[in-house]
């Protein structure tokens, strides 16, 4: 089930919300677990078993690591934990890629297995690994309650598209979050209703923004990318449009899903960390990766890069570390050689950036923005390609000297047709709209705020629910329209 579907938005979510809030506090994690398993099984009726087995493995390994923390065997338990979690990921995601590459390299003829990839396996595997490693490092105690542990692993808002939530970040929230009651020192029971209302409202707002990003922006940019991919004429413009629309599609799609996940988390009282921070305004590749898919970047930083030695080492080791991390980052996104290329592309850029910093050259910020954006745009042609050859072909055709015309009729038509959407998308990818909205809607914390200003900002705030509902309505229209399927016998 995806968030931008009628079954989720108008059936699953309303039913789960009502059951969740009608259930006493002690049973709410169980409600979330049951809902998450149903959410997953709705689209993956068979592979839900893999997820349950992975959760059991993570749970048991966590307990064992904690129990034998003082003994040498703990290392073996940790390796076993990583082996079981990563093993499932490698088997389902990479086995065909490995067989194919082996066949290509050695001329062998092993049959490919063509296994379907279980949805979200890359995300929940990384969550389980981070949990067992954190328990091993004694950053967090092991979770003894299987229901609570499974709720963390399978929690549906972040299950299929992240963010990769660390157990240590939400361990406390599993027990205590808005809407839950607490006892005062005098023994009276209070309910965190104020927090609950704020949390629900923020969650709805965030979900609506994410849904609109996905349905109104990402889907339309996806359509443009598809048109440019299947264009009948080719020009430099069509390849640049393909890269730019693909980049905007992936950005709004992924960050939209993250927004929805964060919003849904808030609706159930959880507070997830941000996963995107306007990556397209980055002033360098390093800056870009601090802003793009933050939870993945920080996962690789904390569990691979820093254990390898990070950047505080000599240039050779630093290069080795960067290459390993970015090779893995590329492969995490997909089991194809173009993703390996994509990862190595960023490794090279990061090494180049580091080299540049040694030279003391410090270009103007505008130039940094410009080149970063160009390099990132090019990277998305590698990302979107079906294979490495297609990626090279696309990049070659983006550059002068490819022999292609500068523009063609079709690309020009779609550039004009989508021009406003491109402008809207570009602005929406910057903090400008948020800044404007915050400026208009912010409540001054200052005690001496004038009464007039107070009434004005209060009045503007009233527009917020209307804006949220408008976003939901436009997004719903897009969802319903996705089923448009006319029978056009008389087309001809």
């Amino acid at each position: 089930m995806v968030f931008s579907s009628a079954s989720f938005l108008f059936f699953f979510l309303p039913v789960v919300l009502i059951i969740y809030y009608l259930t006493p506090q002690g049973g709410r994690n169980l409600v979330l677990l049951a809902a998450s398993l149903l959410f997953y099984a709705w689209g993956e009726p068979v592979y839900v078993i893999i997820m349950i087995l992975s959760s059991i493995s993570g749970y048991i390994h966590g307990l064992l690591i904690e129990k034998y923390q003082e003994k040498r065997i703990v290392v073996i338990i940790l390796i076993s934990s990583i082996f079981f979690s990563a093993g499932a990921l490698i088997w389902f995601k990479y086995i065909d890629f490995l067989l194919f590459s082996f066949n290509q390299a050695f001329g062998s003829n092993f049959d490919l297995l063509h296994l379907a990839l279980p949805i979200g396996i890359s995300f929940y595997t990384f969550q389980i690994i981070s949990y067992t490693v954190d328990v091993y490092r004694r950053d967090v105690p092991a979770q003894r309650d299987f229901i609570k542990f499974s709720t963390y692993i399978t929690f549906f808002p972040q299950l299929i598209a992240g963010p990769i939530v660390r157990y240590r970040d939400i361990a406390l929230q599993i027990d205590n979050r808005p809407g839950h009651s607490f006892k005062s020192l005098a023994g009276q029971t209070f309910y965190q209703t104020d927090n609950l209302i704020t949390s629900l409202s923020i969650g709805i707002e965030r979900f609506a923004i994410g849904l609109a990003k996905k349905v109104l922006l990402a889907n339309n940019f996806g359509r443009l990318a598809e048109l440019m991919k299947n264009t009948h004429e080719s020009s430099m413009l069509s390849f640049w449009l393909l890269a730019a629309s693909g980049m905007l599609q992936i950005y709004f799609d992924f960050s939209g899903y993250s927004d929805m996940a964060i919003g849904l988390g808030r609706m159930f009282g959880f507070k997830f960390d941000e996963n995107f921070n306007y990556p397209l305004i980055a002033v360098g590749i390093r800056d870009f990766w601090r802003r793009w898919h933050i939870s993945l970047g920080s996962w690789f930083r904390d569990y691979i890069y820093i254990p390898l030695g990070g950047s505080r080492c000599n240039l050779i080791k630093f290069s080795r570390n960067i290459i390993i991390v970015w090779l893995l980052t590329g492969l995490w996104h997909g089991a194809q050689w173009n993703f390996v290329m994509w990862g190595l592309y960023f490794a090279l850029l990061l090494m180049g950036e580091r080299f540049l910093s040694y030279t003391g050259i410090n270009p103007p910020v505008a130039l940094k923005h410009f080149f970063t954006l160009i390099l990132i745009t090019i990277s998305f042609n590698i990302f979107q390609a079906e294979n490495a050859a297609e990626a090279i072909y696309a990049i070659k055709n983006m550059l002068p000297g490819s022999g292609l015309a500068l523009v063609d009729t079709e690309a020009l038509y779609y550039l004009r047709s989508y021009s406003l959407l491109i402008v809207i998308g570009t602005i929406a990818a910057t903090p400008l709209p948020k800044k404007i909205v915050c400026k208009c809607l912010s409540f001054s914390e200052s005690e001496n705020m004038s009464e007039r200003k107070c009434v004005l900002t209060g009045g503007l705030n009233i527009l917020k629910p209307i804006f949220i509902m408008a976003l939901l309505c436009f997004a719903t229209a897009g969802i319903v329209d996705s089923s448009f399927n006319p029978f056009i016998y008389f087309r001809f």
Partner: protein, 394 residues
């Protein structure tokens, strides 16, 4: 004090947000469950998925979730209004030039036909050649291309327009049959505003050009110019339901004379005779079905005196289509445009056999028809069909 007002106001905003959101999602859910399923969408001209189409047995092969989603979306409350809002978003908010490839220009709706698929056009030409050299050997074979309405759009960069001139050239270079040019007889006003088809009341000159070029003259004792017009208003063409943002409509006009009134259509696959114009079809989702019943693989139009005697609408007359003798026969390989043109050719032919290669293969035609020597053959296809010739079954 002001801070307290602010916090109070913020609380009101938060509660309003929650209430509106709850009303929206629970409202849609309850309405969806309460409203009865609709079986058909007239704007999309297709069957809608109903609840009983969902097969619980398909749970293990992912079809359950897909079928359920299809049902939810097809039966979504106020579905066409949501689709209209989506079209509004594309055209009015994002200022896109087309919505689902349909666009409005000068109070007319158009559907993009782009680009020119040269291989497809060559394949269509080869198919005509193949027929001409085999099944139709010895017959007088002609072909004619019906230009799309888009061909009459002025050339500018507001829309994508395929190269119609090149299509004509490809057909000329690759077809051994003679061409009958009709594009000079047509302009945009000869087509509906909301549909791709031409108006039957405006194409008698096209019928005359085709028949006369094939060497036919009007049959004797006919006063065929005395056409009587009939009409249906409003008529919403295929693009209306697709575009949804326009309130444009047309008047569906059909013309008849004595000959057309007395003639009958024999639907080979249905095994029945009927009038040339099936006025009952005006109640169909697509009123264009009036012209020879819409999608039909094989139809014979003919005039028989026994119809006058029996006054039958659907019964099979004594001398059936298989035994009657006709002097002038036309085999018309056609698409849906041919349905509205063929009745007008009855002034020149006393038997017209319409073959739609989208629904019948050449092998089947061989078993159903025995091509008469001396008959005329016309391949009459719209440019769109030639550009998508894979749908013609050979």
């Amino acid at each position: 004090m002001n801070k307290k007002i602010s916090q109070y106001s913020l609380r009101i905003v938060n509660i309003t947000t929650i209430v509106l959101f709850a009303l929206f999602i629970y409202g849609v859910m309850i309405t969806h469950l309460l409203l009865p399923d609709r079986a058909y969408s007239s704007s999309e001209r297709r069957k809608l998925t109903i609840f009983s189409d969902i097969k619980p047995a398909s749970i293990l092969n992912f079809n359950l979730s897909q079928d359920a989603e299809k049902w939810l979306l097809d039966q979504f409350p106020l579905r066409d209004n949501w689709r209209r809002l989506s079209a509004f978003t594309s055209i009015n908010l994002f200022r896109m030039h087309d919505y689902q490839s349909v666009f409005e220009y000068n109070n007319r709706l158009f559907k993009q036909e782009f680009p020119l698929k040269e291989k497809s056009v060559i394949a269509a030409a080869n198919m005509i050649n193949d027929f001409t050299q085999n099944e139709l050997a010895g017959l007088n074979v002609w072909y004619s291309i019906i230009p799309d309405r888009n061909a009459y759009l002025p050339e500018n960069d507001r829309y994508l327009r395929m190269d119609y001139e090149k299509l004509n050239i490809i057909m000329r270079h690759n077809t051994s049959s003679s061409e009958i040019v009709i594009s000079d007889l047509l302009d945009l006003t000869d087509y509906y505003k909301t549909d791709l088809h031409w108006k039957s009341a405006e194409i008698s000159d096209v019928a005359a050009r085709l028949a006369e070029t094939m060497g036919q003259t009007k049959l004797s004792n006919q006063d065929s110019n005395n056409y009587i017009s009939h009409s249906l208003k409003p008529f919403y063409g295929a693009w209306s339901g697709q575009y949804l943002l326009s309130d444009l409509s047309d008047e569906l006009v059909w013309i008849s004379n004595d000959k057309i009134k007395k003639a009958r259509a024999w639907y080979h696959y249905d095994g029945k005779y009927d009038h040339i114009y099936d006025t009952q079809a005006l109640a169909n989702p697509d009123a264009y079905d009036l012209f020879l019943g819409g999608a039909q693989p094989l139809i014979t139009l003919s005039y028989q005196t026994s119809f006058e005697q029996t006054g039958s609408n659907t019964g099979q007359p004594e001398d059936s289509h298989t035994t009657a003798k006709y002097d002038k026969t036309l085999y018309l390989f056609r698409d849906s445009f041919g349905s509205s043109l063929a009745p007008l050719l009855l002034d020149y032919y006393d038997e017209i056999i319409l073959i739609d290669l989208r629904y019948v293969s050449a092998e089947n035609i061989d078993s159903l028809l025995d091509f008469k020597q001396g008959a005329d053959v016309l391949f009459l296809y719209s440019a769109s069909i030639l550009n998508n010739s894979e749908m013609l079954i050979r």
